[in-house]
């Protein structure tokens, strides 16, 4: 029982309660208290995700071809886009390339207490999230973006949602100004939502790591994934 459950309500409390109820009712009725459009869209996408995946599998090679054309268009846009400054691409350019279709098979797992994949960039390994988080590596691609080598491993969860994890070789890129910062295990993760995607970026052993995922994946989940092997 909570303190005060069995004590009578005083007149002063009644007056205050009425005032509080008014303030709460105003807040609840405020446009501010309506769910943002992006949340509605994200939930609708979540609900329709399974339907979309079924439809995509029915499309077969036609879907693959369309995806390939889209990938080329994105690549052209990214390559011709502005850079992130003198030190290389921006985090968003890296994310845009990372979300392209993989060109190589997924690296195999090397196991261990915190399982890794047989892929790394200057000593920074890609994690194997299959056992812990049910995200399985599905492919890999290697790109050069604005003069910097970017290695990406793609992962898929059991709902068919896909994300890309990229590591940029060389010095860390400047973190984006936008978004919010989340701390986990003493490390800092920058989370940015834009264009219905969520991008998480952080530094690991002096290199920039980027996760690019659909906006339907909660940012907390992405930071959990990012932080898992960053010890």
């Amino acid at each position: 029982m909570t303190e005060g459950d069995d004590t009578p309500i005083t007149e002063e409390e009644r007056v205050l309660a009425a005032r509080g109820a008014e303030a709460i009712a105003r807040a609840v009725a405020s446009p501010e208290a309506q769910a943002p459009a992006r949340l509605r869209e994200s939930l609708e996408a979540q609900r329709g995700g399974a339907r979309t995946r079924r439809a995509r599998s029915r499309l077969g090679w036609l879907g693959v071809l369309a995806g390939g054309v889209a990938a080329v268009v994105i690549a052209v846009v990214v390559i011709s886009g502005g850079s992130g400054g003198p030190g290389g691409p921006s985090v968003f350019q890296v994310a845009a390339v990372a979300r392209l279709a993989p060109t190589k098979p997924a690296p195999s797992s090397v196991g261990g207490l915190q399982p890794k994949l047989e892929a790394e960039v200057s000593g920074v390994p890609f994690p194997d999230w299959r056992q812990e988080f049910d995200w399985e590596a599905t492919g890999r691609r290697d790109d050069t973006v604005d003069g910097r080598s970017v290695t990406t491993v793609t992962y898929r969860n059991r709902d068919g949602v896909e994300l890309a994890y990229a590591i940029v070789d060389g010095d860390a890129l400047p973190a984006p100004d936008a978004g919010r910062e989340i701390q986990r295990r003493g490390f800092s993760y920058r989370v940015v939502r834009r264009d219905e995607r969520t991008v998480v970026t952080w530094e690991e052993q002096g290199h920039t790591c980027v996760i690019d995922a659909p906006g339907t994946v909660p940012s907390g989940t992405l930071v959990d994934l990012a932080a898992w092997d960053n010890v």
Binding site: D5, R26, E32, A33, A35, E44, D177, Q183
Partner: protein, 177 residues
């Protein structure tokens, strides 16, 4: 009578769940994540519910998700919310800045309540559940729900008036789980 929860009807409850999540978390960004995670969990498999009580079921799922997240979060350093306003320029039409500030203040004060008071206030005043539904949700008698609700509202009013967190009487506190 038992029936399957209709996923196509979930969109009807987004506003209420978002407000409830905001009241629990105290931050709009965390509220969005909480609603997303709750829906993801619910949609992962078919759900059987009793009667027409969709919102009661959803609110229970939201509350469970919130406390489950809190338990996990208590094992690691605290998440620092914001400054995200720069990124999220809110496009909702008709939003007045003074109203927005007042609403944020009220939701922040609700989130600062102790869990027993907060759960009741969020269920009744924010999500619109009846006293009976709330009593079932929090596992208390209706009379207890009534008295907690009164006191929760009074604490919010007191905190808004003094600029202090509810129930602290001027003693600074950290946000409660």
């Amino acid at each position: 009578m038992e029936r399957l929860l209709d996923p196509s009807a979930l969109g009807d409850h987004v506003d209420r769940l978002y407000r409830a999540a905001w009241g629990l978390c105290g931050s709009r960004e965390d509220a969005e994540d909480l609603v997303q995670e709750t829906y993801a969990r619910i949609l992962a498999k078919p759900r059987t519910i009793r009667g027409d009580d969709d919102i009661g079921y959803l609110l229970r799922a939201l509350r469970n998700q919130f406390y489950s997240q809190h338990r996990r979060a208590s094992h690691r350093p605290r998440t620092e919310p914001l400054p995200e306003d720069r990124e999220f320029v809110d496009p909702r039409a008709g939003l007045r800045p003074d109203e927005a500030v007042a609403a944020r203040e009220v939701f922040a004060r609700i989130a600062d309540l102790t869990p027993d008071f907060r759960d009741v206030l969020v269920a009744v005043d924010v999500a619109g559940l009846s006293y009976a539904e709330t009593a079932t949700l929090v596992g208390a008698k209706e009379a207890t729900v009534t008295s907690r609700l009164f006191r929760a509202r009074a604490q919010v009013a007191r905190a808004l008036g003094s600029g202090m967190e509810p129930g602290t009487e001027g003693v600074p506190t950290e946000r409660r789980p």
